[in-house]
């Protein structure tokens, strides 16, 4: 018990003595920073002060525009700025004006004849992927129907358009007229309603133009005379066979490009409203219809095929598809008129499989 206290006492006394006299916690003195001092004369000191004087303020200083950008604070350095040499401004001599350029060598391009013909654009390949669907310009603008409370028949070609109906008063053969001669006037032709869809009864009278171009006639088969031998008979048989194999309903002209097809597809799909929670969303329907040359639906839209769903769901899917086709036709789908044979009859399949996942 006492031995321990003794050992502890000695140890503490030793430690205190070592701290006091041994310099255990004495740190090395910090290094002194030595700076050289030079003795200068009063004249030199005045010269230094004069050099540091601020320049005379000038009133002709443009107000600096405060920059919007954040100004970075420059790093502070211990080095003193060097005295700035202010050079004496010298008046600048006016330079000689620039020499007028010699334009004699330049010749204006000769004006070219402007024609109404559209430039011939290179036809893209059928398989070229396009983002924007190609649309062919419609060559003939459609007449805008005029609507009036009372329908007015088409006036004669020489009739002047006026609000009032007035018959022409012409001098008779003798050159005299009972009244002052007047020009025949008539109101502009109008209809009491906008006919949005051709009626069946009006269909034949709607246009006297043929709906399709007449195909060139096939040359009549030349029947050989019996006296010309076997070769001629074989040739005649071949000619007859070739004429029978021709298909009169084949469309003429190049087929629609993928861009043109995409144009029609995009036009219809933006009107196709899909109810993804309904049973009709399980049905894929194909509808068929005919278009007239202005791109409008002619007649009924018929259900061609349907897969999935019960009868009620099929009917709903068909109605939705029909609405899409009819709603988005507006004034007619924009398709190239020169390829009408290729898009006269259309079948569109509405497949909602991807939509169901949304």
């Amino acid at each position: 018990m006492h031995i321990g206290q003794y050992i502890s006492g000695f140890a503490h006394a030793g430690l205190i003595g070592w701290v006091m006299f041994g310099g255990a916690f004495r740190a090395d003195p910090p290094p002194l920073e030595v700076t050289g001092v030079s003795v200068i004369t009063t004249e030199e000191f005045e010269a230094v002060l004069k050099a540091q004087e601020a320049p005379t303020p000038s009133t002709d200083v443009a107000v600096p525009v405060i920059p919007e950008a954040e100004i970075e604070t420059p790093a502070v350095t211990s080095r003193a700025d060097a005295p700035v040499d202010v050079p004496t401004p010298t008046e600048a001599e006016a330079g000689e004006p620039d020499a007028t350029p010699d334009l004699s060598d330049l010749t204006a391009p000769e004006p070219q004849d402007v024609t109404d013909e559209a430039p011939v654009l290179p036809t893209p390949e059928v398989d070229t992927a396009v983002v924007i669907p190609e649309r062919s310009l419609r060559p003939v603008p459609r007449p805008v129907p005029r609507v009036a409370p009372e329908p007015v028949a088409q006036p004669k070609p020489d009739t002047t358009i006026s609000d009032e109906l007035q018959e022409a008063i012409k001098p008779d053969e003798s050159g005299k007229a009972a009244e002052e001669p007047k020009e025949e006037t008539s109101p502009e032709a109008a209809s009491s309603e906008i006919v949005t869809e051709p009626k069946e009864a009006d269909a034949p009278a709607a246009s006297a133009a043929p709906s399709r171009s007449v195909r060139p006639r096939v040359r009549p088969a030349t029947r050989p005379e019996p006296s010309k031998g076997t070769d001629a008979a074989v040739a005649a048989a071949l000619a007859e066979a070739s004429s029978e194999s021709s298909t009169p309903a084949a469309p003429s002209g190049p087929p629609l490009t993928s861009g043109e097809k995409d144009g029609l597809r995009v036009s219809v799909q933006q009107c196709w409203v899909v109810d993804v929670g309904s049973r009709a969303a399980d049905v894929t329907v194909t509808v068929g219809f005919s278009l007239d040359q202005s791109g409008k639906v002619q007649g009924d839209i018929r259900l061609v095929n349907a897969t999935g769903g019960d009868e009620s769901a099929v009917q709903t899917a068909y109605q939705s598809a029909r609405r899409a086709v009819l709603r988005c036709q507006k004034t007619g789908y924009e398709l190239p008129i020169e390829k009408y044979d290729h898009w006269r009859d259309v079948e569109i399949t509405f497949n909602p499989e991807k939509m169901r996942r949304k």
């Binding site: 309603e193 906008i194 949005t196 869809e197 298909t247 309903a249 084949a250 469309p251 087929p255 629609l256 097809k261 029609l264 597809r265 219809v268 799909q269 933006q270 009107c271 196709w272 409203v273 899909v274 109810d275 993804v276 929670g277 309904s278 049973r279 009709a280 068929g288 009620s312 769901a313 009917q315 709903t316 109605q319 029909r322 609405r323 899409a324 009819l326 709603r327 290729h342 898009w343 006269r344 009859d345 259309v346 079948e347 569109i348 399949t349 509405f350 497949n351 909602p352 499989e353 991807k354 939509m355 949304k358």
Partner: protein
Amino acid sequence: MIRLLATLLMASMMLGQMALAQNGPLRIEITEGVIEPLPFAVPDFVAESQGSNQISKDLSRVIAEDLSGTGLFREIPASAHISTITHFGSPVQFADWKAINAQALVTGGVTVSGNNLEVKFRVWDVFAGQELGNGLRFKGTVDGWRRMAHKVADAVYSRITGEGGYFDSRVVYVSETGPKNDRKKRLAIMDYDGANLQYLTDSSAIVLAPRFSPTGDRVLYTSYETGFPQIYVVDVGSVRKKALSNDTGSMSFAPRFSPDGKSVLMSVTEGGNADLFRMDIASGKRQRLTNGPSIETAPSYSPDGSKIVFESDRSGTQQLYIMGSNGGEATRISFGQGRYGTPVWSPRGDLIAFTKQNKGRFHIGVMRTDGSDERLLTSSFLDEGPTWAPNGRVIMFTRETRGAEGVSVLYSVDVSGRNLKRVRLNGGGSDPSWSPLQ
């Protein structure tokens, strides 16, 4: 040589076929459409008798609200209409309705004679320029004009979507008033849109989990009237109740009618273990359907009555199982993360709605009957207790907000996950059950 000639012949025949194929109609496939409400117009129905002016306007408004409330239709306001319908039999000026992009048009006429009300209407596909189906005429009383409006809306919905409607239906639920620590609960019944509220019980005893019968004339529910949870049935018309189970030695809860309405599925707890039973309502006899140490509860029949879906913790966590209507081997159908409960078979038979708890959030979801194609429709602090609309298109459920001041209210959501909206209620509510069409 002969092979070469045959190959050339085949190739030429194929080319010929391809050439012929190009001569057919232009064929296009569309796989992308738009998901947006269908614009429709319901001009005020024509008042065809004196005293029917107001009711014709009110009818039109309820029909429009029913259709717009589905999220599938968007009403074009009357201020945008170009045409007015002055006679029910007048031809429709389709161009005027096309001009405002109305894709469907509902026209109608109303005749009031004493307390008798007659409503007739037609639905038009504007862009096809033809009527959808034939005109219909409903007769009833002036008092029931709202039901008449719901019936017209159901018919319109059905003509356009090809599916049955759900507007002429009711919802029974637990009405909740007061703070969380002293909440008064009683059974309430209302139209699907919150109108015509009526209470079936008082707030003297805690009531839970009301369930409509397949014909909508009775309601099953669980009550703590005796201190133990027991199952009662109440007649909706007369509001008379009767205890179906009165066994003081056990607790019975989570009842649900069979599709024929003659028996009741329920969960009964005996000795701390809950199993599924079927009770014949007429005789009161019970048949055990499950027998195991795990907790089986929340049974629900398939529409044809051949199968039962229920929740069980037999695998260690709460999951969904399907078994035959007489019990037997059960097949687990839920395998996702979290716990699944309160399964309800869709009236269509193709989906099962459920409550899912995962990572501290509750969800209402649907999956196919084999457990595939699971989709979560909602997410919140507490969503639970789904019930199907009679057409299997909409799900109603309870949503409770967080905290001591939190309240329970009813929400509905389309089966596609769209059109989530709060149900118009007088106060709080929970545990909804949707009736069949009336």
